[in-house]
Subunit: 270 residues, 2 copies
């Protein structure tokens, strides 16, 4: 939808495992051609974008790799990058450049699509050591055309970064929801105000997708979870010991930096 809006002259071919989604895309004019065979879908492509769960990408790339023409470039949207780069580079070689657009919401499916999803959204591009400079340039051009603000880093740097700014907030949302269920009388959550609703919004995300993401990035996510556990325990200790000044400093520092976050793109949470 974003590509149609920003580059209407491009020809778009879509593969999906679900043929009803493909029919809907044609009906809405969002695809010029649809395919149920991955190899047929990439025929004559200049650029291929893998937008499936990370666990599916290796099998899919193996299925379409033989059909790729000489100079086609491949990118992806996976939320974890080291496993993706490690698995896809042997299959795709210099043509593959991983990426992670930091956009989307707890919703999924075609009804959650919007053309301005990527406007001003950060996109992290993570070229592996094998990626060619031509592939890198073409992939960065693609994400820039969609409206993203680009940042380049290694797959390792990416996985550490997103474990703290994306995977940890998701894990906290799921955990907070379950903690309330386990420690309060039934229905207590219905009395919650906006802070609980916002803190748990992404617990509406697809559990299977997030189980895959947390598991693929298990080393960094485990570290982030343990760091958070340590921080919460030290807050509890500060409260018990009435270390008033240190707790106030802690809260004040958080507010100062939260206040200075860039403004979100429009319609972030429709």
């Amino acid at each position: 939808m974003a590509l149609r809006a920003k580059r209407p002259s491009l020809s778009i071919t879509v593969w999906d495992r679900d043929s009803s989604t493909l029919g809907e895309l044609l009906k809405r004019g969002l695809a010029d051609r649809v395919e149920t065979d991955p190899a047929a879908a990439v025929k004559d492509a200049d650029l291929v974008v893998l937008c499936t769960p990370v666990a599916t990408m290796e099998q899919l790339a193996s299925a379409f790799a033989p059909a790729l023409s000489g100079d086609v470039v491949v990118t992806d949207t996976g939320s974890v990058k080291l496993p993706v780069v490690d698995r896809l580079t042997p299959i795709l070689g210099r043509r593959f450049v991983g990426a992670h657009p930091m956009a989307g919401s707890e919703r999924s499916g075609i009804l959650a699509a919007r053309a301005n999803l990527f406007d001003s959204a950060p996109c992290i591009v993570t070229p592996g050591g094998d990626a060619s400079s031509v592939s890198l340039a073409r992939v960065e051009e693609f994400w820039t055309a969609l409206g993203c603000r680009l940042t380049r880093m290694t797959p390792c740097e990416h996985d550490k970064l997103v474990s703290r700014i994306s995977h940890l907030p998701h894990a906290l949302a799921f955990a907070l929801m379950n903690l309330v269920l386990d420690t309060l009388p039934p229905g207590a959550q219905d009395l919650a105000g906006g802070s609980f609703r916002d803190a748990t919004r992404v617990a509406m995300s697809d559990p299977t997708l997030w189980h895959g993401i947390l598991t693929e990035n298990r080393t960094e996510v485990s570290a982030a979870l343990r760091e958070m556990a340590t921080l919460l325990t030290s807050m509890a200790s500060a409260l018990g010991e009435e270390k008033a000044d240190s707790l106030l400093d802690f809260l004040t520092r958080a507010k100062k930096h939260r206040d200075s976050l860039p403004l979100p793109p429009p319609e972030e949470n429709p």
Copy 2:
């Protein structure tokens, strides 16, 4: 503003420590009378609503208590109830019935006001053992008139409840912001998507106010923080031991219950 909109015939008197706020209220037609002396403000009142930080309420109630007429009723909006009921009951007696409307946001001040703030918002009413049934009825009538959905519980039950559904989400927001600052390169937070922004939104709240709330409810908040730390540590262990099924069940349960939360009131986060 809500009272003006829902009960335009009522006469509203406002006390505030800040005289510029009082001038602004008169200018906007939101108060019929303003006072800088608490005792003068409660003269001829039928109902008094204390809307200050919890730490200020005892001193304020002592200042105006001698000026209250015979059957005036007093309620409050404090986020912690046991300390408030314990401190105000000796001063105000049977006329006091504490309440906690679960509304508001990280913003404060007159520019953050909106008339529909309380529409469908939960309001927890926490009568102490001394409160008269007349006082309780009048206070519940007041919050119902503003549009709230009422729930009645003891101050202790309230403090445990809000420690998990409100104070913990706030503590997590402050902690997550600081964790990102401490574990990632400078500026990393600017790459965050909506999950981080929503998870940290309430870290924009007033640190002094929240330091007061967390400290007043320290026993329950400490317990909630330690429960969360334990839960996060067990998630980290599950990831390390590749207990795939248990983690997926954990995420699925959270999603199921988050999906069934009541819809938020309109314009919750303007």
